[in-house]
Symmetry: C2
Subunit: 498 residues, 2 copies
């Protein structure tokens, strides 16, 4: 066994001279998914070892605002007077995905309230309150947020709208507090955590089952045996420019990747090297964070043809996706004097300001007459509280009539779009990684953005889905790995089918 292996290529256990350490379950990556996998593996009686590349835990979860997309009637939803049910949540989730994995989605919807309660049992605080503002960056300690497309059309016709973004009670970012509680629980359950430890590749036995991890720590390559399983919780690949360009070429170079610097797809590549299939590799969450200020929602988004293409009251992720797909990526937000405000996020340029829509149309070099018609048509409906094109909520309808009028440049490649990846290993709800033939790879599990979860489409994404999904399925994967029967590496015969 040499130390120079690329991640995708596992080593054969029989070539390992000696195991430097061993555990029942090895968790690779210590963010939200990894911590929850470690808690449940350790609570399930497995000797659990967590490997983390960074000098501390947290991953992308600890960098986040700390929202979890949960519903079905949580304590906070009830306290705030919102009705929701597992069926209603499932309808919403199913509608938001091109291909909802039936079993994964069902378990998430049915287990959502219990997952909330589990987090509370670990000491994660949630206030019984709602933040009513329309924001992409909730910074107060209020809990509930309309963090997706629940109230916008057509989603509101599919499932009864309910707010489901649950923010951990903290001023500013709630992710650090969330992770701190998970970390305490993992340690209390007996998990060992090794930082500054980079997993290089997986070890497999002659049958192809995963039985360990080769890792690097303090300049030394160490073979770590996993008697029951390895759980990959290494995050997505937004921070790997080559992988991002290979799998999401349309956005490469045009968006700012979001995440931890270690979201480089290492675990995903390890899993693929062990024959794991990857799903939705071209999918992503993309945001056009033009709000706050919420008032810009009164404006309209138009493309290079001067046409609207989406309800401006949709979630910023859905708007980002639709906008990025417009011809040439050219999009402007048209605002009047009453609704205009500077986006709080830097990087938006004002393309033009004019006294009339006709002059704005000329200044933007839009086809003569198109923007004028679009605004006239929109204003006519808005005066009646209707949006015949995209059924924007009446609360955000107001004629654009008070000049001057401004055009905010929302074009792909110019506006500050941000994105992260949603593609990952194909897994069962309980984390077992599958090959392209749908066969389990014994001993290999994945959760969080190293796997393909609930979040699998840009137009259906809602804030909190990734951390909701990562913590929920991280638990299931850790529990499943702990329940697996020990393997005995020494008894496998070299020369069998790999």
């Amino acid at each position: 066994m040499s130390s120079g292996h690329a991640a995708a290529r596992p080593v054969l256990a029989s070539s390992v001279d000696a195991w430097h350490d061993e555990a029942d379950v090895i968790v690779v990556g210590y963010g939200g998914a990894g911590a929850c996998a470690a808690i449940e593996a350790a609570r399930g009686g497995a000797r659990t070892l967590v490997l983390e590349r960074a000098s501390g835990g947290g991953g992308t979860t600890a960098m986040s605002a700390g929202h979890l997309y949960l519903g079905g009637g949580t304590r906070v939803q009830k306290a705030c007077g919102y009705e929701d049910s597992a069926e209603n949540l499932l309808r919403y989730l199913n509608f938001s995905a091109d291909d909802p994995d039936p079993e994964k989605f069902r378990r998430y919807a049915e287990g959502s309230v219990a997952h909330f309660d589990w987090l509370v049992s670990l000491g994660v605080p949630f206030r019984d309150s709602i933040h009513e503002g329309r924001t992409s960056m909730q910074q107060s300690d209020e809990c509930l947020l309309w963090s997706g497309n629940e109230k916008s059309w057509p989603h509101r016709e599919v499932a009864t709208p309910a707010p489901r973004g649950h923010k951990v009670a903290a001023e500013g970012e709630g992710g650090p507090l969330l992770f701190a509680r998970l970390h305490e629980a993992a340690l209390a359950a007996g998990a060992r955590v090794q930082y500054d430890t980079r997993a290089l590749t997986l070890a497999v036995d002659a049958s192809g089952a995963v039985c360990g991890v080769i890792a690097r720590r303090d300049g030394e390559t160490r073979a770590l045996r996993a008697r029951r399983g390895v759980v990959l919780c290494t995050g997505g690949f937004a921070m790997n420019p080559e992988m991002f360009a290979r799998h999401v070429p349309r956005l490469a170079g045009r968006v700012t990747p979001i995440g931890s610097p270690y979201d480089d797809g290492s675990g995903l590549r390890m899993g693929m090297g062990a024959r794991g299939a990857a799903l939705h590799m071209a999918d992503y969450h993309i945001t056009l964070p033009f709000y706050p200020p919420a008032g810009l929602t009164f404006g309209i988004l138009v493309n290079a043809q001067g046409q609207r293409f989406v309800g401006e009251d949709a979630y910023h992720g859905r708007i980002g996706e639709e906008a990025s797909l417009q011809p040439g990526g050219v999009v402007y937000l048209i605002a009047d004097e009453r609704c205009f405000g500077r986006p709080e996020i830097d990087g938006f340029e004002i393309a033009a300001v004019e006294e009339s829509i006709a002059d704005l149309e000329s200044a933007l070099e839009l086809p003569a007459g198109m923007l004028q018609h679009t605004v006239e048509f929109y204003n006519r409906g808005a005066r009646e509280g209707r949006d015949p094109l995209f059924r924007k909520q009446a609360a955000w309808l107001r004629p654009l009539e008070q000049g001057p009028f401004a055009a905010l440049d929302c074009s792909l490649g110019r506006a500050p779009y941000m994105a992260f990846t949603l593609g990952g290993l194909w897994t069962r709800p309980t984390g077992e990684v599958l090959t392209e033939d749908g066969e389990e790879i014994p001993g290999l599990y994945a959760a969080g953005r190293a796997s393909c979860g609930i979040a699998r489409s840009a137009s259906g994404y809602a804030s909190g889905t990734c951390i909701g999904d990562a913590t929920f399925f991280g638990r299931l994967a850790g529990g499943a790995a702990a329940r697996r029967t020990d393997t005995d590496v020494s008894s496998t015969s070299p020369g069998g089918d790999p």
Copy 2:
């Protein structure tokens, strides 16, 4: 070694009791790519064995009209008076892809004329003539066809338009004749072809190099040794409903798959099982074959908002893609009495016929006033020979003013959309299959739709790209495999790194 292996899982050569047959190069799949790989492998001095599941060769190539997308100044292009160059072709190809593989695209553009001449040298006939009709089903024996987006905007501003669809000279489908000539050349070069032989999986040595194929023939499982390499030419996966739904969920159940019944992704899965990375798995060619009759190109395509979204003179593949992406997939083709005609392909329904555009708008339940404005705006430009929105060619601009007016239903899920897959193994131009880390898998090659080639985006597809690409890169892969040094399976030590 058992016979029950799923395709994705290779067997270790050391577990093979005896090799039933051997060759230097084994080609799996005998369509356009496989035949060209076999020709060049055999001509390169390799003992070449071709395995084909069907009882005869041809694959999807022999089922096709027989177009190859070639350019740069072929004999036929010159004879018909069209200027083209390798640089011009490359500009067109690069623009048509989100992520042109630089080396692959360059070789294809620079080698295109020589590839045409090579086909001629095998006796493949091409007439020095052009078919000027706008059609998705060229059935005459004329050669050149404007088979992509060359003349439509914005492509025409990127590269000087030239027709590049080269149809094999045959009345009706040219694919059978093309394949017949390839087959003769393969046999003449000394390739052996075994039909009714289904490759089950790959054989790999202890180092992970591919050294054979396990196949099933006459009810018997046979181990076939490949001393230099295996070339996977097994086609795409449009005919595998599970794989299609997994990787192209947006279209699953809404399009008719096109191809050979054996386009089930078997080779792709074998390659992935040997750790090959797959690219563009969510990409496809989709067609909305509303023409012929060409006259419908005078009509306009509108979405559920009554807005146009694409130049109607674009290639049917680009139109199919843009149409399928409209909100709710709802699209109508609006025609007047002068340009209306029934599509030659069955399955299109007429959604409404009315004496006025206003009545048509009501009948289609489009937002009141939108279609009327769209038609008025379009007509105003058309009278001046201009299309300010999508720069449709003047030759296809004519006001829609002579009632009655008809709406042809082009909605996804209702109109007869057809599609095939473009995702495949990541390869070098010379066919070597790469892992997600970009490492070569020794002994494994792929070409045609089992690989990711020149054709990699729905909006950029042009008829003839797949057969052009399959035959071109099939040749390179066969040649490269033949040049590889023989491996000696017996000398590899079991227990090394897989």
